[in-house]
Symmetry: C2
Subunit: 344 residues, 2 copies
């Protein structure tokens, strides 16, 4: 565990606890002061986009708000601003530098619509363009985003909890660092077992449904950037729409299936995949999963709406263990020279 | 060319011409009669979801409307209806049977918000639930959607043209069947050349940007369902965010790069991929692409906003040629028993 990545992964419970300590009250004031809006327009790229998928579920479930994930190139490539009537615009960017995310938030100001930035850097162009900033405070030294991502998820969860307007959600959120520490304590061993099995896997599907869907996308991206492993994320629902044709003997799949409303559907898909000869690895708190998966990467049991920042931790452990098995340096992933990617 | 699929592919120019003949005037009346709305909430699954990606660009560009792609399981899995204030709700479903798409449109009615269905079946539950129906009239006999998809794209383009409120867009749309016929006339030969090369390809990336992005997603799905070929769709912008690590000597990639605002960025990515040893196949009207791609699958030159229903045709020809090379029956793709997929 000598890599920078390992240290960043281990620091997450503390980072999240500090984020909650510092940001719950300011965010409560921001939310109370927002003007009326009908929906959220969200601008993000890369891992931040996966936090956006989580936002789509949790802001819908807890706040009732539809979330439009902006196609940022509409703005930067085609120079055609959207009409932002009735929108709250939220930009998510670790560095706060992504020009396409910044330009969407600037457009909100131009049209007199409220905006919010979720970023590590309160002096960044994104933070300066937005009406309000939720400072993530997760300054990350590793190239692959870990605690930046879990802090983004926590900020998204916090906004959902505040929009729900029930204190019990905030109480559940306060227990998140503990659930994360418990998960990191139990995930490393099974991650090493799974990594040894997956040493020669030519590709891996990552599948989830509902609230966990963003985690399947993040898992696919993380394994791709750290391991150059061809991965494909799927919604379990969409997977049955055509892509089930990919199922062949020996196919490797990682299922993200925490307890909750999506669990039965994931179990049913797991059985179908298993019957078709797939080899299954699963991130779950439910012991019932042991009957369908070769290896279960355990996570602490948490309310389903809060599962993403916990479920991603065994994935991080798996990615790190696989990098070790394959002799790759997780601190120098090939082709990722810089944390800031400037998409025009 | 004896398969049902081949006949369906060939019939598309005629199907689209008939759709435009019958639906331009009724759709004009529907659009004129809609109450004020601030954004579109779109519900779709599978190929229809890729028409939704096109909608996100073309309704944004031509109408200025943000488009939220609904997470339908929010409704069916978590039983939590969204607040639809200021939304126009649009459901896209070939059969009109998808319960999650139907339930989103029913919710619009419950909340007194306007709704629109794009479906082949005017007697389907989706059509009955919606205020207005745009009948696609593309009754498809092949299991893999071809003309259903291009008709959905054309309906999306028609709505964009009407929202733009300029007759020149409708004039450009009227020339679409001709551009499709020209493309089908020239794509088969190069598709066969590309298919012969790709016979043993273990996987294929499909990459596009902006308006063409939905075509990359549709290409990935179509090759997956017809050929069981592992494919991954990428936005060129997101591909540089981490997934560039996938680039290895001999990697096969299909680039969708019609002339337009996204073209230069796609050329720049093509050069980087080529320098990294990737083997490139490209769908494009631009002869400049011949310098970077092993095979260019030609398409007719059309205004960029209208490129998706044209750009998908060489892909259909490639999928069919690859099925022939691999000895697969394109009319009986494995694992796709039924055209109606009932996602709960």
């Amino acid at each position: 565990m000598a890599s920078v990545l390992a240290a960043e992964i281990a620091s997450q419970p503390e980072t999240i606890a500090r984020f909650l300590d510092r940001q719950v009250d300011p965010t409560r004031r921001v939310v109370a002061g927002l003007p009326r809006f009908s929906y959220v327009l969200l601008a993000a790229r890369g891992s931040s986009d996966h936090a956006g998928i989580y936002a789509q579920y949790v802001w819908g479930l807890l706040g009732g708000f539809p979330v439009a994930l902006a196609a940022p190139s509409l703005h930067t490539l085609y120079r055609k601003p959207l009409r932002l009537d009735d929108a709250l615009v939220i930009g998510i960017s670790q560095s706060g530098q992504s020009p396409d995310v910044v330009s969407m938030v600037e457009e909100a100001r131009r049209q007199g619509r409220p905006s919010l930035a979720l970023t590590n850097d309160p002096d960044s162009p994104l933070a300066r363009a937005a009406d309000h900033v939720i400072e993530l405070g997760a300054d990350e030294r590793s190239i692959a985003a870990t605690k930046t991502y879990t802090t983004q998820l926590t900020a998204v969860a916090l906004l959902g909890a505040l929009w729900a307007g029930e204190e019990r959600y905030l109480a559940e959120l306060a227990r998140l660092p503990e659930a994360m520490a418990e998960t990191l304590g139990s995930a490393v061993g099974p991650a090493e077992v799974a990594a040894a099995e997956l040493l020669y896997a030519p590709m891996l599907l990552t599948i989830a449904r509902g609230i966990a869907l963003g985690t399947a996308h993040e898992a696919a991206l993380k394994l791709r950037e750290l391991l150059r492993l061809p991965t494909q994320p799927f919604s379990a629902a969409d997977f049955r729409h055509g892509s089930i044709a990919l199922l062949t003997e020996g196919l490797a799949a990682l299922l993200v299936m925490p307890s909750g409303a999506a669990f039965d559907d994931m179990m049913s898909l797991a059985r179908d995949l298993g019957a078709g000869g797939a080899r299954l690895y699963a991130i779950s708190d439910a012991p019932a999963v042991d009957a369908v998966a070769r290896v279960r990467l355990p996570m602490a049991a948490v309310p389903e709406w809060l599962s993403p920042p916990v479920a991603v931790l065994p994935l991080q452990c798996l990615a790190m263990a696989l990098a070790a098995e394959r002799g790759l340096d997780p601190d120098r992933p090939r082709g990722l020279a810089d944390k800031v990617v400037r998409t025009r």
